[in-house]
């Protein structure tokens, strides 16, 4: 039977149809009741057939979640935690091939263009539809090399020791209220292990998608890059629009061992009503390199500060962050660098754009611990404000506990200049096209770091954000 599409948020019928603004009707097999308590957590764990240690982990996290106050900084969070579904399992089993995937779910993915993407150079696709990874594939040669790329639920069953050794170690349950929430009710997410010396030259990719009203999505990702190994993980998120709040609260932990290298790329385009509260942190050991590339579009409020802790000498952390805040959106995004060992190098480049009353805040930490001599840390954040109604703030926190270090911080705020617009329009470009070009140019230093198809997608998403903007 064909799936039915309901175009939401098209009251007037004249607005352009956002490519990502559709909803597919699904038949959930199991949906826990709304709300959060010990019973729900026990139910989730039982449905997943989890070992006792994981149930205990969840129950402890639930207590921590309830005991912690809401953060008093960042953005305003108006959420009723008892009015959210914490677990929905869309299909009985995880599909092994594309043919096994139910048609209405497939339909959603087809609209997102995943099959085309897969035909190209994808190493493997993990597509998260609601709470469970339902479809995945991994090239055989990677499996032969011992690379593990699976969903985290499967990893709990199939790789218990490896997972337990690192799970919740980088981001402990007590870290913050939302990390505790995720720890209590997490579901899905990716688990990646790259063995010693194995270098994966093409990006591993995952798509995430929320598709049930009032449903939180709490994926949990753990990436372990062993000594001298290399991986690039790409995560793209799009969500359809709904009328009441939705919550996305992920935890991503990354360990990069000696001489290893990991790049984690995220492009997010959440619907305007979603709270996106994510904790991402990596530990980089001796001479290892960790890079976060983080693009945030959409959502009502995003609070996300990918972190790199440089644990041993020679470690390097690089964070590139793009935020686009449109009408009714608050992007409180940034990055953290923590130098915990000598001769470590960190760099943050942040670019934010605010438009139509949107608010973009850069919030970042640069910390050099005692003993981290010879470390270098550089922070550059640039903001572009498109109109008088929009806002940009910078909250840089710098803590330096060592003398012999080099710290740089540069910040700039600019507006689209009349002269730039005139120059471009005098070459035949409409004002809207010219503004889009200036914005794309502004973020180009980050876009060129993305794989080609993501760069194209990001440019297209920005074009959608820019359309009809200039009057």
């Amino acid at each position: 039977m064909a799936a039915t599409d309901v175009i939401v948020n098209d009251e007037t019928g004249v607005g352009e149809i956002n490519k990502y603004d559709f909803r597919t009707e699904t038949h959930s097999v199991f949906k826990a009741r709304k709300g959060l308590d010990e019973d729900i957590v026990r139910q989730i764990s039982a449905l997943k057939n989890e070992p006792k240690w994981m149930l205990d982990f969840r129950l402890h996290a639930l207590k921590v979640f309830f005991s912690k106050p809401m953060p008093k900084w960042g953005g305003e969070i108006n959420l009723d935690f008892q009015d959210i579904y914490y677990y929905i399992k869309p299909t009985e089993q995880q599909g092994r091939t594309w043919d096994d995937v139910p048609s209405e779910i497939k339909d959603t993915f087809e609209k997102l263009g995943i099959p085309e993407a897969e035909r190209k150079y994808l190493a493997g696709v993990k597509a998260q539809f609601e709470s469970e990874v339902i479809y995945g594939s991994l090239k055989e040669d990677l499996a032969e090399k011992g690379v593990i790329f699976t969903d985290t639920d499967t990893a709990v069953r199939e790789y218990p020791e490896l997972l337990r050794e690192h799970f919740g170690k980088i981001i402990p349950t007590e870290d913050n209220k939302f990390a505790a929430l995720n720890s209590a009710v997490w579901s899905g997410g990716s688990f990646i292990y790259v063995p010693k010396g194995v270098k994966i030259d093409f990006p591993l990719q995952a798509y995430f998608r929320i598709n049930e009203e009032n449903m939180g999505q709490f994926e949990r990702t753990l990436i372990i890059v062993d000594e001298g190994a290399q991986v690039h993980y790409v995560e793209g998120c799009t969500a359809p629009m709904y009328t009441s709040e939705s919550l996305h609260s992920a935890v991503v932990e990354v360990i990069v061992k000696r001489n290893g290298r990991c790049r984690y790329t995220t492009i997010q385009n959440w619907a305007n009503n979603i709270y996106n509260l994510v904790t991402k942190r990596a530990y980089a050991y001796g001479d290892a390199v960790m890079e976060w590339v983080d693009g945030n579009l959409g959502s009502q409020l995003t609070m996300k500060y990918p972190a790199v802790h440089m644990m041993e000498p020679g470690a390097r952390g690089e964070i590139l962050s793009i935020a686009f805040a449109n009408k009714g959106q608050h992007q409180d995004a940034g990055a953290k660098l923590v130098h915990q060992a000598p001769n470590t190098t960190g760099q943050i480049i942040s670019k934010s754009i605010s438009k139509n009353g949107g608010r973009a805040s850069y919030r970042g930490l640069a910390r050099v611990d005692k003993g981290a001599v010879g470390s270098k840390c550089s922070v550059v954040c640039d903001a572009l404000i498109l109109d008088d109604a929009s806002r940009s703030d910078t909250y840089p926190y710098i803590e330096v506990l060592e003398q012999d270090v080099s710290i740089g911080h540069e910040a700039s705020v600019s507006r689209i200049g009349e002269e730039q617009l005139f120059y471009l329009t005098s070459r035949g470009m409409s004002e809207a096209e010219a503004s889009t070009m200036i914005v794309n140019g502004f973020i180009e230093p980050l876009v060129k770091e993305l794989p080609m198809e993501y760069a194209v997608e990001l440019n297209r998403l920005i074009q959608l954000q820019m359309e009809g903007s200039v009057g």
Binding site: Q420, Y423, M429, S430, A432, Q463
Partner: protein
């Protein structure tokens, strides 16, 4: 009927201050006009007004392109109608590659009905053409990958403007001091380039202080602007004379315009 750009008794203000005080000038396609004048005479203003800069207000007079007024047209509409201004000081657009910029510009100018988001001209065709034009102008192919005017030397900026002129092939082009900041060899190359890319087929208004740029683009008319008005029009020989002797004779013959011009160059001296 030949194509014309007509400037009719044009008065222009910027922030309430009059700059042009009745400029009248007609350029037919295929003609080359030189526009000379001391600093503050209104040369650059004329170029910017013709292109539709929002800072300048036309208080009276008209600008006609092939008989149609373009006063209400936006800069992009003017560009699509066949007007071009080579900027004296082009602005940088960081992060935007010359090639992307030129592909958008060329597509819009060649297909004036194009709406935003519609297809650009085919990449292959565009690339071939761009490469050929850059070779003709003796430009390094790497130039296409640089960001528009970002970190360009004075000479590179001017060459980039000529490259745009070559790609867009307008009906009428205003070249605002395309020779300033260039050494003698670079000016000669610029002059040659303008001729080679078919400047003679366009209607050219060349704003310059020197005669070198005119070497390969001999003007049929030379106009002298002073105090916001064209005070004298002659042939090629007038350009040569001004280059040799400066503006003193003109000043002596038009003391009122000269006084007006001096007021324009000293904005702090203007009293209400």
């Amino acid at each position: 009927m030949s194509e014309t750009l007509e400037i009719i008794d044009l008065f222009v203000e910027v922030e309430g201050k009059p700059i042009l005080r009745g400029v009248t000038l007609t350029i037919r396609r295929g003609e080359t006009h030189a526009l000379m004048g001391p600093n503050g005479s209104g040369k650059s203003t004329l170029g910017l007004v013709l292109m539709g800069h929002p800072k300048y207000t036309v208080t009276s007079g008209d600008i006609l392109l092939n008989g149609q007024s373009i006063l209400e047209a936006s800069p992009d509409e003017r560009a699509r109608a066949g007007l071009f201004l080579a900027f004296q000081r082009p602005v940088a657009i960081p992060g935007v590659k010359m090639a992307d910029f030129l592909r958008h510009a060329a597509t819009n100018v060649r297909n004036p009905e194009r709406k935003e988001g519609e297809d650009l001209m085919p990449m292959k065709e565009f690339r071939q053409e761009l490469r050929a034009k850059m070779a003709q102008l003796k430009m390094d192919p790497d130039f296409a990958r640089r960001y528009v005017n970002d970190g360009f030397s004075g000479g590179e900026m001017k060459r980039a403007e000529i490259l745009q002129l070559a790609m867009l092939q307008p009906k009428f082009a205003i070249l605002d001091e395309t020779d300033s900041g260039l050494d003698a060899d670079a000016v000669r190359l610029a002059s040659q380039s303008i001729a080679e890319i078919g400047g003679a087929k366009m209607g050219l208004l060349i704003i310059t202080h020197h005669d070198k740029l005119l070497e390969h683009n001999p003007p049929q008319y030379t106009h002298v602007i002073m105090g916001g008005r064209i005070v004298e029009t002659g042939g090629r020989e007038l350009a040569d004379e001004l280059h040799r002797n400066g503006y003193q004779r003109i000043r002596d013959e038009h003391p009122e315009a000269a006084a007006m011009n001096d007021t324009n160059t000293k904005p702090e001296a203007v009293t209400a």
